[in-house]
Symmetry: C2
Subunit: 532 residues, 2 copies
């Protein structure tokens, strides 16, 4: 799952959130020259060289952080064992398909009824092009990728009180807002109102640029024409043969766009983390977890619920129960421990670490998030509305509808993401409902955007992350203050224990953060081992 809070918070909140994630103003640094590519924290496959002298490492958690550690540590010569709470690998790297069932906190069990081949990724569902570590593991482990469509110009923006509740095409709002802004600035420029801000030489080029960028006419006006239609789309598309000339539509007025507040969704698609080209694994996100498990599955003990983590000078001892049939606790021992258990869980387990790391473990609340997958009899969004992939945004509690980025243009059933709520009141509200009600509400709200919901809906499944037993939340939700005070203490090795996971990264809620934090932790652990 990823941070989608920009979909329902104000712009101010988003900026504040970004600042939070990044660790505050202290981190800001203006660089005087631009590199050709931005620098990734991933420099290619890790190399752990040196004699590990039979050292053993116990890894807690078989999510991506844990399995990355297991894979690389074994390759480096360590003896590795992994304890995993679930009966499957992957953790939040998880896909629900027809026949899968899952029980949430509170006891409600859902069984997925999707048709074969259809699925929901309740957790992470897309991969940015700059997540170099994750992409490299996909390549090395043979995980086939396909594009994930984030921005679809033909998807919808919907405000309950905007345009009489009638959804607008993204291409219309985007083109028209840009056109109006360009017109205003061009006119101000022409009227000499920017003379203090723009040089005479630049002014002439600025006017050209605004005309190009805003699709302005020769008088620098943005207006209804086949020129603007060539970007915003037509009232009637150009055709073939006789009587096939195109007809332009009327742009939405600036005042209407402003008061509709639909402009606040436009930059979602431009965020570095959501820019083209994004990916998803062919067949479901858990193809990645499964690929890791092909490598390290033999090291994993499933259904192992960790109840205590102890350490002394000689090593680490972890107590665990069988999560399905709890009996007497069992013990696992090793020289070192990489613990990837989410802080929401770890903070409830007795752990022998110093007060600094313990305070850090306790400092991070976990974000609330809800995802609801809905199966329909047919892909009406494609057939009726020419919407292929992408996301429609709304101010309704479902916040967004995302259309599948696979199976394009096929006949038959389809599953879309009927709600994706991240933090905020709506997320808590959905979490408080029973699963059937969540699905019913998603269908109800969605039908005001797509009336076809009413006749085409078949079944659904709803995951509320605060009720997911193995994480009790979606992802570590660092505040600026908490990060400043605790982040380094969380990441520093305490005795023989090192923590890893998305919570131990500057890319919270992303799989890349989990992998990079794991690579960093095992690198530092390995340095201690070979130097000791």
């Amino acid at each position: 799952m990823q941070n989608e809070s920009e979909t329902f918070v104000t712009r101010r909140d988003l900026l504040s959130l970004v600042g939070t994630v990044a660790g505050g103003a202290a981190m800001y640094q203006a660089m005087t020259s631009l590199g050709f590519a931005s620098e990734s924290g991933y420099k290619g496959p890790i190399k752990l060289e040196g004699d590990t002298r039979g050292t053993s490492v116990l890894v807690l958690g078989a999510g991506l952080a844990g399995m990355t550690a297991a894979l690389e540590l074994r390759k480096a010569g360590y003896k590795v064992e992994v304890l995993e709470f679930n009966s499957r690998p992957g953790g939040r790297n998880w896909t629900l398909r027809g026949g899968d069932s899952f029980t949430e906190l509170g006891g409600a069990t859902q069984t997925c009824e999707f048709e074969q081949g259809l699925y929901l990724n309740p957790g992470p569902w897309r991969i940015p092009y700059h997540h170099r570590a994750l992409l490299d593991y996909c390549k090395r482990l043979g995980v086939a990728l396909e594009p994930f469509i984030q921005l679809n110009h033909n998807a919808l923006l919907h405000g309950s009180d905007a345009f009489g509740g009638k959804p607008q095409r993204i291409r219309d709002i985007k083109t028209d807002f840009q056109g109006h802004v360009s017109e205003l600035l061009a006119k101000a420029t022409q009227q000499g109102k920017l003379d203090e801000m723009v040089s005479a030489e630049d002014k002439a080029i600025l006017l050209q640029a605004l005309r190009s960028w805003g699709v302005l006419d020769k008088n620098y006006a943005y207006s209804a024409s086949l020129d603007s239609a060539d970007f915003r789309g037509y009232a009637r598309d150009p055709g073939g043969g006789l009587g096939a000339a195109p007809v332009a539509g009327e742009p939405v007025g600036l005042s209407d766009i402003l008061t509709s507040r639909l402009w606040r969704y436009l930059q979602n698609f431009a965020l570095y983390q959501f820019q083209t080209t994004m990916f998803q694994p062919v067949g479901g996100m858990d193809m990645i977890g499964k690929a890791f498990a092909r490598e390290v599955g033999d090291l994993i003990r499933y259904d192992a619920k960790v109840t205590r983590i102890q350490q002394d000078h000689g090593g680490v001892t972890v107590s665990y129960l069988n999560a399905k049939t709890p009996a007497a606790p069992q013990l696992a021992k090793a020289d070192w421990c990489i613990c990837t258990i989410p802080l929401s869980i770890l903070s409830q387990i007795p752990v022998d670490v110093g007060p600094r790391m313990k305070a850090a473990i306790d400092a991070v609340p976990y974000a609330s998030s809800v995802k609801i997958g809905l199966q329909f009899k047919r892909r009406f969004w494609e057939e009726d509305e020419a919407i292929y992939g992408g996301i429609s945004y709304t101010d309704l509690p479902i916040r967004q509808i995302s259309y599948p980025s696979s199976g394009f243009n096929r006949s038959g059933r389809g599953v879309l993401l009927g709600a994706y709520v991240y933090e905020g009141a709506n997320s808590f509200e959905f979490t408080s409902m029973n699963p059937a009600d969540r699905v019913a509400r998603a269908v109800d709200f969605g039908s005001s955007i797509h009336p076809q919901y009413k006749t085409e809906f078949e079944n659904g499944i709803a995951v509320a992350w605060h009720r997911v037993p193995f994480t009790l939340g979606c992802a570590g939700n660092w505040s600026d203050k908490a990060r400043e005070e605790h982040y380094d203490n969380l990441c520093r090795i305490d005795g023989r224990i090192a923590l890893a996971g998305e919570h131990a990264s500057y890319i919270p809620a992303w799989q890349e953060g989990a992998i990079l934090s794991s690579l960093d932790a095992i690198t530092r652990l390995h340095e201690r081992v070979v130097k000791s």
Copy 2:
């Protein structure tokens, strides 16, 4: 192939071109209300009802227009025969793979040396979501589609004289231009300079919107910060573990962007015809032609070069030669004729039509276009530069480099589009070279954008459309004046002959135009038959 002229003409030229394609100002029509979706000329599968009484139709050309006609006419009860110049179906719907060879006008023969699974689409290569007819035929004929990536924020914009010849990331130029424009307009707004243009109520929201859209700080300035980095990318990406805080880069100054003129490429991606979500057939564009041929292949006589088209009250008689071993001409007869031969060829064939249609046939020059496919030892654009699909634009004669939209993140060889030139001096220049020189020049130019070219290049193939024997050009290049004078005369049925193809549409150079024109022509032909 499609109209990519916006990549190397001025914005003014583009606007003028758009006007041309659309048929001029007379077509403009402001609509007072916005439809939920724009109206497509395609209303679902064609229904040709009524008794065809054994009527026969001769179709000339087995491109998409011809095969659409053959498929639908046979289904409606007509006796259909198709004559095709090439030894394969599809016409410009064409894919070159390893082992394919092709001889251009002038006699040069190229044999494609691509590794198995790699290909070049010399003609059309992408499908917009609003090309409803083409998409419906893909669905009906079982052609699997995958996304075609047009906009990749991490691809490059390159000006020989801009930034010392150093390519810039699209995300940087896009974010920074938008940021600077927003800052200028916000400041003008704050200073009361827009008071005549914007109401007081709108002004407050406009400032909020500009702050969101332009990623402005609380003082409405666009500047180096982790906020702007969250859109333009970072100097150092956020990472995991210790020492992983992100570092922001320095935005490009407005003056530098303006004088670089890289802004002129920004709207390419926003054009209705190039907007997300676009598609390509899995495995090559000719999967569509092959799918049609599975339906109507039994009706097609290949290697048939039409030399004369005659008609009288009784029917149509077409003379043709075997294109490979020309001997005595053979005759094909039918009651009616659907002729999809490109006008560049048809204007050189004696045709019994009235002076109006004949004048129309002669009125349309064919566009020049060159495409060059280059195979490299590895997908360095992905591995080294994180560029997955999309297009880099340059003012060099190659104009654009397009990275493949399939095989993402795989090891091994890859083929990219090393040049795509549409009209203009560069197109004629490339056309005048022999194929080997075209490829060598593309490698030479491209290496100033991707230095890896020098060591990774293996082989290439170059198609110059003015030298392609079956079209003598890329597509009908209607002028505004020609369309006004001749378009309807081209489309009207002359006796027993109706024309179809992209040239008989308002969507020139696109496959949708070919199909829609064909559906329109056979609809009108059928009306005459059942009413006669």
